[in-house]
């Protein structure tokens, strides 16, 4: 499957996750988000940036708790909770935000 981003065809898997992580750009992220029905705001980008940073270090998306803590530190304690993250990413911060950040899907019982 493929996603059309500015005339360029980007390969995605059947669930909409990027096949090649190197294909990720801001435009690709915005296109994936659009397909998910999400209009990317600055707050969305903050989360996406943190996910990518964490992934670069650990080869996995952060635990939801690690994410909420980090976002709380960055954007204020009223935003350091999973309710806020679900507002940004209604299908769940772990999977939907990972998809937009171009990271592989967290698998297992999550």
């Amino acid at each position: 499957m493929a996603l059309d981003v500015g005339g360029k065809s980007i390969e995605i898997d059947e669930e909409g996750y990027l096949v090649n992580r190197d294909d990720w750009t801001d435009d690709v992220a915005a296109a994936i988000a659009k397909a998910e029905g999400i209009d990317m705001s600055e707050n969305h980008w903050e989360v996406v940036a943190f996910l990518r940073e964490y992934y670069d270090e650990y080869q996995i998306a952060p635990a939801v708790r690690v994410l909420t803590k980090a976002i709380g530190k960055k954007l204020g304690p009223d935003k350091g909770n999973s309710k806020y993250l679900y507002e940004l990413f209604p299908y769940g911060p772990a999977k939907q935000a990972c998809k937009i950040a171009g990271l592989p899907k967290p698998t297992g019982c999550v």
């Binding site: 669930e15 635990a63 698998t107 297992g108 999550v110």
Partner: protein, 508 residues
């Protein structure tokens, strides 16, 4: 996307739903790709001679597993199971009646392995194996969560889950495996857990938890990793390191060990209790995944092995670890014997975390303040694999009593759901047996109906606001599907999350 799925309405009178033939026809979870298949030693894609190989594999299994043969022969179509399946109740698709689902394979068995079926197929409901039949297997045997509720009602005691497992094993053997389960099993072998959480990330997560708990309680509570010579090796689902509310139970386990003064460790190599080998019905995978735990136990020299809140893991540990790995008596290869002599047999091997905690509560080694959970009005969901595939406490029904005893010790307000939906008659959460995947969301939402009805009832009558679970799959499934039924996902929590709230630390 998934938000378009709507939950079925609660039934006014919970009887057999109106049939909706074909309602779930063609539902097909993503097929595993070549890489995922080959990593497990299965053909990469559907083989050209799938017909002959399917029949051959079936024959091999009929010879090897006496149970499978009995289950193929014994059913008399009495219909006792037909309305006991949550997927049938939720979808109304008649092929989701357990008897009908099994007949998808039983009809092929009759055609190729019984005399009347060979000569008079039409008279005995036997049918040829065609590509359509194979696709039907793939579809409907992935609409069974192997929860075995129907088996409770079967007068012949047919283990319907085993039939589903056999079907999936056959499908894998001809290159027609399911992506969700097989990708995950690949990750266990490669990385050590279902999640794909590498060692350094695990270390970081555990360090973060130590900080959080210190902040909350002022006490240094450790989450040890790969500690040689620890007394207890805790094997818990990797979701406990990652997801909400799972991680709160992990905090609970750590507090229990701390308060009781038991030295313990997690393992980076065996950082997974889950064993999806059972979901795909493949003995080799089941064994291979289980053996990681033995390897780590021997390496770390632990005296006890304890399993965290994970339903099917406890079934595998309780029912299969002994002969698979030598945790518990039964296996007789040299490593199993070595492990046998290493473990401390004054304790149950393996032990469920609930058994450990309840024993400590009973002996007053740890103290709980139930007022700490006063804001929670709690009910408990019996997980299918714990309820029907295992035990606790070495007495009948211990697996039902012990988790409830812990909850009642940790909280003041507890109400059970309808007894038609608890204990051995518990309904699956709707996401078990390897179906906890986004591409089956519609099935998961619909399959949750009977559990949601029972929950709804205790919410209405007692104001229940906390659904306690002891399984990572149940927790994730409910977190996902509760909103479809108008409930807040924060209602879901673990039994050890309640323990975590109530346990007295550091002041004894």
């Amino acid at each position: 996307m998934a938000t378009e799925i709507t939950a079925p309405a609660y039934r006014v009178i919970p009887i057999i739903p109106a049939l909706k033939p074909g309602a779930m026809e063609g539902l097909k979870p993503f097929v595993a790709n070549e890489k995922m298949q080959e990593a497990l030693g299965f053909p990469g894609k559907l083989v050209d001679d799938w017909h002959d190989r399917t029949i051959a594999k079936m024959g091999e299994m009929l010879g090897k597993y006496r149970s499978f043969k009995v289950f193929m022969d014994a059913c008399v179509h009495c219909g006792a199971c037909s309305d006991k399946c949550h997927y049938f109740i939720g979808t109304g698709d008649p092929k989701n009646m357990p008897v009908a689902r099994q007949d998808l394979i039983r009809s092929v068995y009759r055609r190729y392995f019984t005399l009347p079926g060979k000569f008079f197929p039409k008279l005995v409901g036997a049918r040829d194996l065609t590509r359509e039949v194979l696709d039907e297997w793939y579809s409907y045997f992935h609409q069974c969560s192997e929860c075995r509720r129907c088996s409770v009602f079967c007068p012949y005691g047919i283990d319907t889950a085993e039939v589903t497992m056999a079907a999936r094993d056959i499908l894998d053997s001809v290159g027609y495996g399911m992506k969700y389960s097989n990708e995950i099993i690949g990750k266990v072998h490669k990385i050590g857990n279902n999640l794909g959480l590498p060692g350094p990330a695990l270390t970081d997560t555990l360090e973060g938890l130590e900080e959080d708990v210190k902040e909350d309680t002022g006490i240094d509570i450790r989450f040890p990793l790969d500690v040689k010579g620890a007394e207890v090796l805790l094997i818990t689902p990797s979701a406990d390191f990652f997801a909400e509310p799972h991680i709160d139970s992990l905090v609970g386990y750590a507090k229990v060990f701390h308060a009781a003064g038991i030295s313990w460790t997690l393992s980076s190599m065996a950082s997974e209790a889950g064993n999806f080998g059972i979901f795909i019905g493949n003995y080799e995978q089941l064994r291979k995944i289980a053996l990681r735990i033995r390897e780590v136990a021997l390496e770390l020299g632990v005296k006890r092995i304890v399993v965290g809140e994970c339903g099917h893991a406890w079934r595998v540990a309780y029912s299969f670890w002994n002969t698979l790995t030598g945790v518990g008596a039964g296996a007789n290869d040299p490593f199993a014997i070595e492990l046998q002599s290493q473990l401390d047999h004054r304790y149950k091997q393996p032990m469920h975390i609930c058994e450990l905690t309840w024993d400590l509560i009973e002996r007053k080694v740890i103290t709980l303040d139930p007022e700490a959970n006063d804001k929670h009005i709690i009910t408990f969901h019996d997980s299918c694999n714990v309820a029907r595939g295992s035990g606790m406490g070495d007495y009948p029904g211990g697996q039902f009593e012990i988790p409830r005893n812990i909850i009642k010790a940790a909280a003041n307000k507890f109400y059970d759901m309808s007894d038609a939906t608890t204990l051995e008659k518990t309904f699956c959460c709707g996401g078990g047996g390897g179906l906890l995947t986004d591409d089956l969301m519609e099935l998961r939402v619909k399959g949750a109906l009977p559990r949601m009805e029972a929950l709804h009832e205790v919410v209405e009558t007692h104001g229940v606001n906390f659904l306690a679970c002891i399984c990572a799959i149940c927790k994730t499934q409910f977190t996902k599907v509760l909103p479809y039924y108008g409930y807040n996902r924060n209602m879901v929590g673990g039994v050890h999350q309640l323990v975590s709230n109530a346990i007295r630390l550091g002041d004894k």
